[in-house]
Subunit: 376 residues, 2 copies
């Protein structure tokens, strides 16, 4: 059995409050998933991620395949055990990084041949190989191998890219289903299976997006992602594509928009009915001095904070805002102290996870029974 | 009132179990003090330092004077408040870094003129200025401005260096005593004063060391440090100098050996009667993959640990050893992950602080009343 999706409530605007029961954790949605690229959400220890309420984190297949290698991780019992993360995990297919990081790519129907950005060694990723790697890593959710269509892409390019992604989706699904009992924790977790999500592509063409969604739904994945967004297009277009696709996806499966976004975006998408989102923004921005706060974005390097003894965000009760001042965070950044990345990232993640917590609470409130006055 | 020293027990070998009552914290000794160079024990959040049992940490006057500047820290209420560290702190005099980091030094009886290693700007440190900076920082313990005699140094060089250090000690003491009510927290902490330690120098000449100790004791400092050790000399010589000086220091004042050392050294010195020690070794080594464990030193980068799922130290119950494997720590180091420095440092500090905890417990056991069998 793969994931169980328990839809608790749908708001008038389409926002969904649900639970995704996964082998390692039951995830309350809408959920934001911090990105743990190479087996670490950069600069943050796992116990702090837990205390922040992170329910599910990402691992990047491309990075982990190259280092330390998926076979090593398989031998050590899978990614959860390797990085000591007891809650849920999701791995991407490796496709996105192959296209953005690797060198000398050559795409054929078979797959993508590329050179490692680490040592120039040559590798071939096919849908089958991506599944094999993801099975070895053993995240709760694996992603179909796809080509992330660049922006802008003309129609014929978007059509060709979609053709490839749809063929690879079929092959990904067939291969994962045939090998799903090979996941490292299969026996330990009573025969629960890895889930596989298909990825809707189609560039910025509404009809291609629809076609992509319909064909994937026909294949019957465990969940559906909308990919190829946040690749440089204007935000209206992102919204338009999401709005086009969501109604075509089955109500009883999770919906995941990949690689978004700014705080106001993830809140908006969650209210529209997106269940899952991930983005490097809160963690990457933190390392570059950008803090997200209830008072807006704040470049903590700015001189104006040199003697500002207030907390980074006066409306935040995270462990960073409760203890440290803007002046201290600025100093750490100026002095090149490693603690800077850790504290900034903790706050930004607290902020992102807090947004989702608030949206969930609002959706919960819409379904809460009226409390009898006696019970107060 | 400056520090209160409460000597609980002295062992046959001279080991001392004591308490140092300081304005911000009562420190149980023997104690190891992690180094927080620029206002951060590199890569470790303050709450983790607290949970590791760090009682007192160091700040480096040279670094904090250059960035963010002692006047800014004074305006923000002192170093404790600036970095949000509620327990005890000690600042060095800036002398050591002026001699090791700064450029174009010119030493006169007045003080040291140097250029900042950050921007080449010109600065003059005198004993009076070092005290002014340390008062602004407001650590519980300040250190007299001294010249750390290099190794090897011939006798005339060591004599001249000692002459300077003794003159500067007198000026440091006079200046601090005259201005001790200017420390930022003076009023908040009921008029408690900063303490000042003199620093014994004298190179590797036993008679110069004796002379230095005797003259400092005459000046009546709040505590006494032995400086100019661990500067490249053989360890026998370090031991010899410490053994020469300790008996000359008053039993009712704390004794601090600066800049030591390896785990076996700090244990040995603590058993000889050294109350306080500091060293960058556990934190700096951690960032370079060197872990101190009950099974010896371990270079976590080594290939042999690639799939080693055991804890870094099987006899350690720190938060790192309880949760993470050697294989994971190796991977973090290989992948250049920021978490590597954090986890390695936490373990090494736990190991160092654990040594001192064990020595304290042993000294306590020597004084514990025999438990009546009924009380079991």
């Amino acid at each position: 059995m793969s994931l169980k999706f328990n839809l608790l409530h749908t708001s008038e605007q389409g926002g969904r409050r649900a639970q995704i029961d996964l082998p390692h954790h039951t995830v309350e949605t809408p959920v934001f998933m911090p990105v743990g690229t190479a087996g670490s959400v950069k600069a943050v220890p796992q116990d702090i991620l837990e205390s922040l309420g992170a329910q599910i984190i990402l691992g990047n297949t491309y990075h982990l395949y190259l280092r330390p290698g998926h076979e090593a991780i398989r031998r050590m019992g899978g990614l959860h055990r390797f990085i000591s993360w007891p809650r849920a995990m999701l791995t991407d297919s490796g496709g996105f990084q192959v296209f953005s990081l690797a060198q000398l790519r050559k795409v054929t129907d078979e797959g993508v041949r590329f050179r490692s950005h680490l040592d120039g060694s040559s590798h071939l990723f096919t849908p089958e190989h991506s599944m094999d790697v993801q099975i070895a890593l053993g995240a709760d959710i694996a992603m179909a191998f796809d080509e992330c269509t660049e922006y802008p892409a003309d129609r014929s390019r978007a059509e060709e890219s979609l053709r490839l992604t749809m063929a690879w989706a079929r092959r990904s699904l067939d291969h994962l289903r045939a090998h799903q009992n090979e996941v490292p924790w299969f026996a330990d977790l009573g025969g629960r299976a890895q889930s596989l999500f298909g990825i809707v592509q189609g560039g910025m063409y509404r009809d291609l997006r629809r076609e992509s969604a319909e064909r994937l739904v026909e294949m019957d994945f465990d969940g559906y992602a909308i990919g190829g967004l946040s690749v440089g297009e204007p935000r209206d277009l992102t919204m338009e594509m999401i709005a086009e696709v969501l109604p075509l996806l089955p109500a009883d499966k999770p919906r995941y928009v990949m690689g978004v976004g700014y705080p106001e975006e993830i809140e908006q998408y969650a209210r529209m009915g997106v269940d899952m989102m991930d983005c490097v923004l809160p963690t990457r921005a933190a390392r570059h001095a950008l803090l997200f706060t209830s008072e807006g974005r704040l470049n903590i390097k700015n001189k104006q904070f040199a003697e500002d003894q207030g907390p980074p965000d006066p409306n935040c009760d995270c462990i960073v805002c409760r203890r440290y001042s803007r002046a201290y965070l600025r100093h750490l950044m100026q002095a090149g102290e490693a603690l800077s990345a850790t504290l900034n990232t903790i706050h930004n993640l607290a902020y992102y996870l807090g947004i989702m917590r608030r949206v969930r609470a609002e959706l919960d409130a819409q379904t809460a029974p009226v409390t009898p006055s006696l019970a107060r």
